[in-house]
């Protein structure tokens, strides 16, 4: 566990990316229907998929 210290930028990179994607998803379905809804579903699914993947990996 004695890996090198990570920079702040490095620590928050993935969470910030997921947050930005989530915001896009939350707003997109408000703007329109059809393609905007689909963009929203895909964007908001991403954080949940990430959680699922890490939990699955850890449980193996």
């Amino acid at each position: 566990m004695a890996s090198a210290k990570l920079t702040m930028r490095r620590i928050y990179r993935a969470p910030a990316f997921l947050a930005a994607i989530s915001f896009i998803g939350l707003v997109s379905a408000l703007i329109g229907d059809g393609i905007y809804d689909m963009l929203s579903w895909a964007a908001l699914a991403l954080p949940l998929i990430a959680i699922g993947r890490f939990l699955l990996r850890a449980s193996r």
């Binding site: 703007i31 929203s40 579903w41 954080p47 949940l48």
Partner: protein, 356 residues
């Protein structure tokens, strides 16, 4: 970060979380079925008939026949196109909201599909628990304060994420480690990946707790100014056609459709007018209502104005809190985030118990 400021953030996170967690758990558990409120509430729905829509005058006559002796307070076209129109009725225009009856009619044939005498279902109780803990306005404000604490807990949690993750790549789950470390990794992963959704739903939930106050403020300032010229006028004797009023409002605002007509005497219309509330046609603008006041005796348009920013904030907060603006897939995602948030709360509680 300095050790002293870290300790401070830790204290903020611990105490704000400890106070609001139990209420947040209630909100998450009751919120889960409420996401599917429309699907769960039993309501007769007529099949699409392909016939032309019935006129509003016909709709009203049919509603009045189904509840003799009562007057029409509001007529509402539902946001979801399900071929129905709702008519809110009561013994008089002064009855409180819980003595009103919602009559649902087929929008094409004007036949009554629900007389409004249905007893409250379990979903209504869950909704009440979720909005005010069965404690009315004080309960609602209390939950608003809990939303503020939750906001502080979320922000301090994001700040505390860095010192814990200094040597760990994103998504690390040390399952071989001690119990407390496992809960910590789970808490960090679940919390930080859902922070955007949690912030939006938390803040809009907090705004929604102010709904009745915002409506009251708007009525006593903006609506009061719109009806002020009529203050000393005699009450209308014979009401003009509601259908004509809606027709006039829609001609005045092309591109908008009817949301609700408030009848003269109700708090959203004043004593001399029909309050015709129109809405736009996109998911966003369909939530933004615009009031037009039609003189209920002459049928003339006498005032219209856009809603002020604080009412618009309230309008936009509703879909962003309920997740009902992007079809069933969005509702399922909402449920997923809700369950993850429960995970954040429970793992946080476990962390605190293992530490103390």
């Amino acid at each position: 970060m300095q050790a002293s400021s870290l300790r401070l953030w830790y204290q903020v996170h611990k105490w704000t979380s400890l106070i609001c967690t139990i209420f947040l758990l209630i909100l998450c558990l009751t919120g889960l079925p409420l996401i599917f409120h429309d699907e769960l509430s039993p309501q007769a729905r007529p099949a699409a008939t392909g016939m032309p829509l019935a006129g509003l005058n016909e709709i009203m006559a049919s509603a009045k026949k189904s509840r003799p002796g009562e007057v029409v307070l509001y007529v509402t076209e539902p946001l979801e196109e399900n071929n129905t129109i709702s008519v809110t009725m009561g013994a008089s225009t002064a009855v409180p909201a819980d003595s009103m009856h919602l009559v649902v009619l087929d929008a094409h044939t004007a036949q009554v599909v629900d007389h409004g005498s249905r007893s409250r279902g379990i979903i209504d109780f869950i909704l009440e628990l979720h909005t005010d803990l069965f404690a009315g306005s004080p309960g609602r404000l209390f939950l608003g304060v809990m939303a503020l604490l939750f906001l502080a807990a979320t922000i301090s949690g994001v700040v505390l994420y860095a010192p814990f993750m200094r040597r760990l790549p994103f998504g690390s789950m040390r399952f071989a480690a001690a119990r407390r470390v496992r809960w910590l990794d789970l808490h960090n992963l679940l919390g930080v990946t859902t922070v955007a959704w949690v912030l939006v739903v938390g803040v809009t939930g907090g705004i929604n707790t102010l709904g009745t106050f915002v409506a009251g403020y708007w009525q006593s300032t903006e609506l009061a100014a719109m009806i002020a010229p009529y203050r000393d006028q005699p009450l209308p004797q014979e009401l003009s056609s509601v259908q004509a009023a809606v027709h006039l409002a829609r001609r005045e605002e092309p591109g908008m459709t009817l949301s609700t007509v408030a009848f003269p005497g109700t708090p959203f219309a004043g004593k001399h007018h029909y309050g015709v509330y129109l809405r736009g046609n996109t998911p966003l603008t369909s939530r933004l209502l615009k009031p037009l006041l039609i003189d209920a005796e002459t049928g003339q348009l006498t005032a219209k104005r856009d809603m002020p920013w604080y009412v618009k904030c309230l309008f936009i907060s509703e879909p962003l809190h309920f997740g009902d603006y992007g079809g069933m897939p969005l509702k399922l995602l909402w449920a997923g985030f809700d369950v993850v948030t429960i995970g954040v709360l429970i793992s946080g509680l476990c962390l605190w118990r293992l530490r103390s």
